[in-house]
């Protein structure tokens, strides 16, 4: 632009150039600077998007890399003597009650002592030895015996879970080259482990219990099934409450409501409610559902109600825009045929808007599934071993289970937490995929 600048501004440069090439269209140095700035700015934008993507990768990567190993569990084959002295000390016919109460842990311990007689002398060594396997190993034996009392007096090879520390060691999370004081397993334990391993008696198996059991203080016993059922029960309540109310509210506001102060207020109110922090809904649930109405604490019923109030704005807003997208010509056509306004809505408008409404509902449910904070307020954070059977049983949900496990000190809970997150994300992906499919499949251009 050297040329342009040489013109006194405002005097006009339109005078005919004597030489047509007087102002050649070439790139000036000033322009190069401007283009450098352009490139930098563009790059900055791209870098921002890339940063977001990179963070997502790191986040997912760190969870998968920490959690994938939770899907299997290391076990050890032990030779168990189902000794009659231990199980049926009084002799005579086998009494089920005695069998139920027998000390099965002793059988495991005896087996370990036979395996490593050297350790049997020292108390603390003995405790370490017993600690090789899960403290809940007796449950396996008990159910074996209860199922087949004929086992009494025989010797069997039984597969028993390693304890969480040994499992963690087997998975390679503990470096054996560290000084002994810096790692959670001692040289002695490593020696035992290596011995069993060299005999081929330690092997990994798919961790079925993770999907079929409730919570436990022992990481190797802890599963997500209880939380999963809790989530399902809670979401059922949420859906049953928020879907009908949300759709009806949307239908009223979009199709029937007169334009007045009240409907304006409702509208503003819904928009604001959508942005209220979720924890405030938890406080509402605590004050109203628990303290005022006396509903049970920790129950999916209350959790579902709280989440329903929270999801309601999402469903109403999505349903309203789905209803809005139905062209007025369809309403006019139906009205012209003599249908009542309600018939127009139920016969024509709602069916056409339904894909959009369902999409919004699924997205709302996905949000509810991932919600944690309000449920902490109403006590769904308790340690619950039993699988909830009804809407009023104490229960927890997947994200809260993640929170509980993340708070646990045991190293082995880290992989459990990550695995639970993977399951949670799996469900969220599934729900969103359904929503996307629904939208794609039924997308309509008017």
């Amino acid at each position: 632009m050297t040329d342009a600048t040489s013109f006194p501004p405002g005097t006009g440069s339109g005078g005919r150039p004597t030489d047509p090439a007087r102002r050649p269209l070439v790139v000036s140095p000033h322009l190069a600077r401007r283009y450098a700035r352009e490139r930098r700015f563009r790059l900055l934008g791209l870098a921002s998007v890339a940063t977001a993507g990179l963070i997502l990768l790191i986040l997912l990567g760190s969870i998968v890399s920490k959690g994938y190993s939770a899907f299997w569990q290391y076990n050890v084959d032990l030779t168990i003597e189902f000794s009659a002295e231990e199980l049926n000390p009084d002799g005579g016919p086998v009494d089920m009650e005695t069998l139920r109460r027998a000390n099965y842990l002793a059988l495991v311990r005896d087996s370990l002592k036979r395996e490593f007689p050297d350790a049997a002398g020292d108390r603390s060594e003995r405790r370490k030895l017993y600690g090789l396997v899960s403290p809940n190993a007796d449950i396996v034996l008990r159910s074996m015996v209860l199922e087949d009392p004929g086992l009494i007096g025989t010797t069997q090879t039984v597969t028993i879970k390693l304890s969480d520390d040994m499992d963690t060691f087997a998975k390679g999370y503990i470096d054996r080259n560290l000084p002994e004081g810096d790692r959670r397993v001692t040289d002695l334990e490593i020696g035992w482990f290596d011995h069993l391993n060299s005999e081929g008696r330690i092997h990994a198996a798919f961790n079925v219990d993770f999907f079929t059991q409730g919570d436990s203080r022992e990481p190797e016993e802890a599963g997500i099934y209880g939380a999963l059922i809790g989530s399902i029960l809670t979401l059922m309540v949420t859906l049953l409450v928020s879907f009908p109310i949300g759709v009806m509210a949307a239908v009223y506001l979009e199709e029937f409501a007169p334009k007045n102060r009240l409907t304006d207020l409702i509208e503003v109110n819904i928009n604001n409610l959508a942005a209220v922090p979720s924890i405030v809904f938890g406080l509402l649930g605590l004050a109203v559902f628990l303290n005022f109405f006396g509903l049970p604490r920790s129950a999916p019923l209350v959790g579902g109600l709280v989440l329903a109030l929270m999801t309601l704005p999402t469903i109403i807003i999505a349903s309203r825009s789905a209803l809005k997208a139905v062209p007025p010509s369809i309403r006019e056509a139906a009205l012209g045929l003599g249908a009542s306004p309600l018939q127009v809505v139920t016969h024509h408008v709602l069916p056409l808007a339904m894909p959009g409404i369902l999409t919004g509902t699924i997205i709302g449910m996905a949000q509810a599934l991932g919600e944690t904070a309000p449920l902490l307020m109403i006590g769904m954070v308790a340690f619950i071993v039993d699988i909830p059977q009804s809407f009023t049983d104490p229960a927890t949900v997947l994200p809260v289970q993640v929170y509980i496990w993340a708070d646990s000190p045991e190293r082995a809970f880290v992989e459990k937490t990550s695995a639970a997150i993977m399951v949670l994300l799996g469900f969220l992906v599934l729900m969103n995929a359904i929503a996307v499919l629904l939208r794609k499949r039924f997308e309509r251009r008017w």
Partner: protein, 461 residues
């Protein structure tokens, strides 16, 4: 669960009523629907409403009232020595124990014969009440059926009645949203009011010291606790500030890139990616912050000789910022797309480059909308709970040093209310006072932001 089955049964009853009403209407019209005022299905719906509405309403009322009555009867039946002079929280504990025994759980007072008896009484009353409730609900449903049957005639305007009732139901549904807000405001105000009878308002708002650990015994030292919330407000603002320092530039620049530069193929890939980031539950971010980011910052700090707390505000703030990036970018994307093309054309027509156009024309034009988006994001950050609960500290340090641990309003609400709580203690109630502050601050931000954004949209519509 049992109640749920009763509800299903009542709905089934109403469905039966539907077919009965239908059939009845055709019968009264002489076997053909021709002479009827409305379609037969409306007579069916009319009958179903007469059955379902009163019986379900009764059920709801019963479920709310029965526990109060049963509790009163059970407590009244206890030896007066046990209930005399109990404070309301002790009364609640006693009742809780009885409930626990009744449901077969272990209780500290489980072996007291009076308690065992009361528990038996409780279960007995509970069962009787349940049976009475079923009888009453079905009785009233049957009554409704009878009324509907007697009223059905060819001249009954069934459609109009049904539609009127449905209209009322629709209105009630849309009022639930308002009811929720009212419920939030009232419950927060009520509990906060109780709190301010324990702790003066000015101490809460201006106090510099927060340590809500009230003692178990009244004579214990420091039993009063300190409820100065300034450290919480400062901690919340610090973390929010850090979050916005991350989210605002990355979110805005991403939005600009997506709206102005990216070709459709890139957008088709990057938009869902940001949506995934938005769809990740906050508890996952919390885990990520506590387990990956905080240790990483701590180690990084150590390597350059800085002492970074393992619960630093920085880690929580940065992860919260990451969580908010997609929020900022999608809101700003909308806002930027609303800037009319004619403004861009005007700038290009003068020979501006793309970035010059964006910086001097598009962004200034979109500024009100962007400010609105950022306000919404700030409100989101202030109210966010799980990340800070898992990654920020509990100790209420009054500091603005991002490398130290701070605590926030939401963290304190959770800590105060999770676990065993005593009713009506200042400690429990303070959580509601914090909730009230949280609610009104986020509400104010949202109202401002939404109105700014709305005005902005109207300008370019």
């Amino acid at each position: 669960m049992q109640t749920f089955i009763v509800v299903l049964a009542l709905l089934g009853f109403a469905a039966v009523g539907y077919t009965m009403g239908r059939a009845r209407s055709i019968m009264t019209a002489g076997g053909t629907p021709k002479g009827l005022h409305s379609l037969p299905s409306y007579y069916g719906a009319y009958t179903a409403m007469w059955i379902g509405l009163p019986s379900l309403l009764l059920l709801a009322a019963w479920l709310i009232v029965q526990p109060q009555i049963v509790d009163g009867l059970v407590m009244g039946g206890l030896p007066s020595a046990m209930t005399e002079g109990l404070s309301s929280s002790e009364y609640g504990l006693l009742l809780n124990d009885i409930r626990n025994v009744a449901t077969g759980n272990i209780s500290s007072r489980g072996d007291d014969p009076a308690i065992t008896a009361a528990a038996a009484r409780l279960s007995g009353l509970h069962d009787t009440g349940f049976i009475l409730m079923i009888v009453a609900a079905f009785g009233i449903g049957a009554g409704g059926l009878a009324v509907a049957r007697s009223r059905i005639s060819p001249t009954l305007r069934a459609r109009n009645t049904v539609e009127k009732v449905i209209n009322v139901i629709l209105i009630v549904s849309s009022l639930i949203a308002i009811l929720t807000t009212v419920g939030i405001v009232l419950s927060l105000l009520f509990e906060s009011f109780l709190f301010f009878t324990h702790v003066p308002f000015y101490e809460f708002v201006f106090g510099l010291n927060w340590s809500p650990q009230t003692a178990l015994r009244a004579d214990q030292v420091g039993s009063s606790g300190a409820f100065g919330a300034i450290p919480l407000f400062v901690g919340t603002l610090l973390i929010t500030f850090i979050a916005m320092m991350v989210a605002a530039p990355i979110g805005l620049l991403s939005a600009i890139y997506m709206a102005e530069y990216a070709d459709p193929r890139f957008r088709a890939f990057a938009k869902p990616m940001l949506e995934v980031l938005a769809g990740i539950p906050t508890v996952v971010y919390g885990f990520f912050a506590a387990l990956t980011v905080a240790p990483a910052f701590r180690n990084a700090g150590e390597s350059i000789g800085l002492d970074v707390s393992s619960e630093s505000a920085l880690a929580a703030g940065v992860v919260m910022g990451i969580m908010i990036i997609p929020f900022v970018s999608s809101l700003s994307d909308d806002v930027i797309n609303a800037v009319p093309q004619s403004l861009r054309d005007g700038s290009y027509g003068l020979g501006a480059t793309k970035s010059e156009t964006i910086r001097s024309v598009v962004v200034p034009a979109a500024l009100p909308g962007i400010v609105g988006a950022l306000l919404l994001a700030i409100s989101r950050a202030i109210g966010e709970t799980m990340i800070v609960v898992m990654a920020a500290g509990l100790a209420a340090n009054l500091t603005v040093n991002p490398l130290e641990a701070v605590t926030t309003v939401t963290v304190q609400i959770v800590t105060l209310l999770v676990g065993d709580q005593e009713f009506d203690s200042a400690k429990t109630l303070s959580a509601f006072a914090l909730g009230l502050v949280l609610f009104f601050i986020t509400l104010a931000l949202n109202v401002i932001a939404l109105s700014v954004v709305r005005k902005y949209r109207e300008k370019y519509d």
